[in-house]
Assembly symmetry: C2
Homo-oligomer: 490 residues x 2
Amino acid sequence: MFESAEQVHKIDKSTYKVEEAKLREALLDAQFDLAEAKSFAVLILLTGLDGAGKSEALAKLTEWFDPRHVHTEVFDQPSEAAAARPALWRFWVNLPAKGRIGIFLGSWYADAFVGRVIGSGDDAELESDLSKFNRFETMLAAENVLIIKLWLHLSRSDQKQRLAEIAKMPGGGRHIVEYRRIHRHYKRAMAMIHKGLRLTSTGVAPWVVVPSADREYRDLMIGQTILAAMRKRLDAAPVGKVAAAPVIVASMDRKTALDALDLDRRLERDVYKKELAQQQQRLAEFTDSKAFRKIALVATFEGNDAAGKGGSIRRVTQAMDPRRFKVHSVAAPSDDERAKPYLWRFWRLIPRRGNVAIFDRTWYGRVLVERIEGFCSEADWLRAYAEINDFEAQLTAAGIVVVKFWLATSKDEQLRRFQDREKTAYKRYKITDEDWRNRDKWDDYAVAVGDMIDRTSSEHAPWTLVESEDKLYGRVKILRTIADRVAAAL
Amino acid sequence: MFESAEQVHKIDKSTYKVEEAKLREALLDAQFDLAEAKSFAVLILLTGLDGAGKSEALAKLTEWFDPRHVHTEVFDQPSEAAAARPALWRFWVNLPAKGRIGIFLGSWYADAFVGRVIGSGDDAELESDLSKFNRFETMLAAENVLIIKLWLHLSRSDQKQRLAEIAKMPGGGRHIVEYRRIHRHYKRAMAMIHKGLRLTSTGVAPWVVVPSADREYRDLMIGQTILAAMRKRLDAAPVGKVAAAPVIVASMDRKTALDALDLDRRLERDVYKKELAQQQQRLAEFTDSKAFRKIALVATFEGNDAAGKGGSIRRVTQAMDPRRFKVHSVAAPSDDERAKPYLWRFWRLIPRRGNVAIFDRTWYGRVLVERIEGFCSEADWLRAYAEINDFEAQLTAAGIVVVKFWLATSKDEQLRRFQDREKTAYKRYKITDEDWRNRDKWDDYAVAVGDMIDRTSSEHAPWTLVESEDKLYGRVKILRTIADRVAAAL
């Protein structure tokens, strides 16, 4: 969930001023339209890490909106009246009415997470809580509440620095002891929160992670996310019709996990040869081992066109007994496949124990090409993140090692490879008009890939981003990653 | 879930013949329309207790349908190929295509239940499985699969008898040892299955419990349920539009849990006086106790008009310190209330610890008057069962005792009371045109009440049906039930 948010996101003051003025006017318009239409309520959950600036963001929002139709509520320790009632009571009684905006600082998530950071964490119990939250939010959505879930994120070092600032502020030290106590468990807390957000990021109420190190960036992103979600619903079909799904992306600088890649990484050919042979040898041993008969391997390849998927896959298969693996090239679904749920054709190809399936393009087509080309509705690809997470969780629960690669090159390098393919006779079949069309949508794909990585990287099936500007470097990284993951599972 | 199914449901052979002929033709029509429209797939889960006749029902369905567009699959022990893959794999690869019907004998539920009947049952783990099933089915529904979940039910004695018959059949003894082993745990199994079906009866894929003691009744009900669900979807909006929710009721004889009530129960006035005083005394003591400050009580009253809710509530409140309780009369929602999710106005009235809230009519209006009068859409009241179950689970998890009464009279007795009210000056305010209009819909209400009891009776918040033909008997039963439930919680 935090891959893109962990990049440096900054906005300069003068841009901020211009954008803020525009945003403010647009938010007031949206609020006015909402108050007049009274067709739905807006519920904004402003939640996230200590020190990320929930209160500051709340102050901004109350400044931007007309306060007459906004109800803000701070959920800290439960009041005595709340403590004497069921946990969700205090949220229920403060729900906004249709035509109005409710901003909750804190939420049912904060309650579930904070108690578990310190103290014993029962996984099954947390999952049970999370599925209650999903049911609660599904119900709210069905009852015409537009839920905008914002998680304010800070990296570990940013949080440390922010807490130091807070400690120096007059009166700021009030909660600082507790904040620091939690900060000490940053890594464990983030693992739990990561899982929590992933399991509760649904089609009807997806999470938006807000990078909060830069205050201006944070506030603008919050404002624009809210604006986009409200506008979309206001401009959609009339009341009672299919509710438009909330938007999930309002990242202004479009920076994602991909931007963190160092594409200058290279390998000399002689080093490459040695390392490749070494990793292939490891993979061969592991997949030949007796222990491998109890598990299985699914390795998936996605990436920019011409990033080198085919060549990488060949290096993987070279290492394995041909009776053991199958390579599946995924193209557009056939009519027969379209007649089934979209995951069906992948389920059919799941290997049995002791076997390996390699996918050249995958089920992620749903949130990449299908999203960008409009082959499925927004509601469809929005729910796909959770569905794919469930799918991969079932694979890994059955002992299948799932290794997912995104092969990344720069746009310039792609151009060079395209041109090379056109010049070389035996490579010409590899380049089509469609490749050029996809290239025109490079920026759209970058956003979709960022969302995909953020929303489907899980502890059991993480994404591995591969710097493929130098094919040799990329191939070795892929081989090593597969070998390491299989070794860990044996 | 099984309250209505446990009634005696029978159909005579000649009626069966007539109905079967009609049904068969209609099913073939529906199947033909489906094959032509190709807009959705039909997935029928034929699952339930051993001996209930899943195979017999499957045979009937394959006889009724044109076998060319039906795919049946029996899920018994996983094959070697299935055992080597994730648990859901064998269901996935057998999913029907759009335009076709898939009938599964057995299902993911059977896998989850059977293993847990014998052996250790971890509640949190079961819940986690069930919520996975819900997500799976929600995805299928979004992917245009109409899911019809049939649970074939037998009472304990009916199952025993059926197993004896099977044991005598040639070759029938093959599974009988295992069946009997499970039958020995009937009560524990049913508690688990009850919970399982309740938690997975969602708006998009509700369960239909099929009373299966009488073979003809069972088969007809299955056929009619499938027909109604298919017809509804086929006749609904065009492809891609809002998918109509599946129907849940196809009970032909409209017999529900209400039919089991013995309305002749009476109390002599002197016995009544003594018992009432006794129970009021108990309730007074319990609610005055120190231990009561840690819990709370919510008592809800629903029932036929003129069934005696008001008088019963007065007898309850007489027993309690007026500072401790509040009585809430629930009428049609105001405009302000309509602007919030429908449960909001009830959440507001949830008592704090140590207190009592009595509801004269309740949140069940959603599945009674709102359903029958069309004040909400079918999708709305269908999802309400699960939402209400969640709501009450949250109350009870917080230590609130939830006691729910349905006060039942005969239709004749209601008429007598209506006429009495019209004749008596000080009672005339109690009878309105609306009461007479409701009376005209007596049969519709009986079905809705039956569904409500089946779908919202839970271990933590069971329904108590009160024989209120004799008001004195009813009042004492109510007082005693409340006192017993509170005593158990102290």
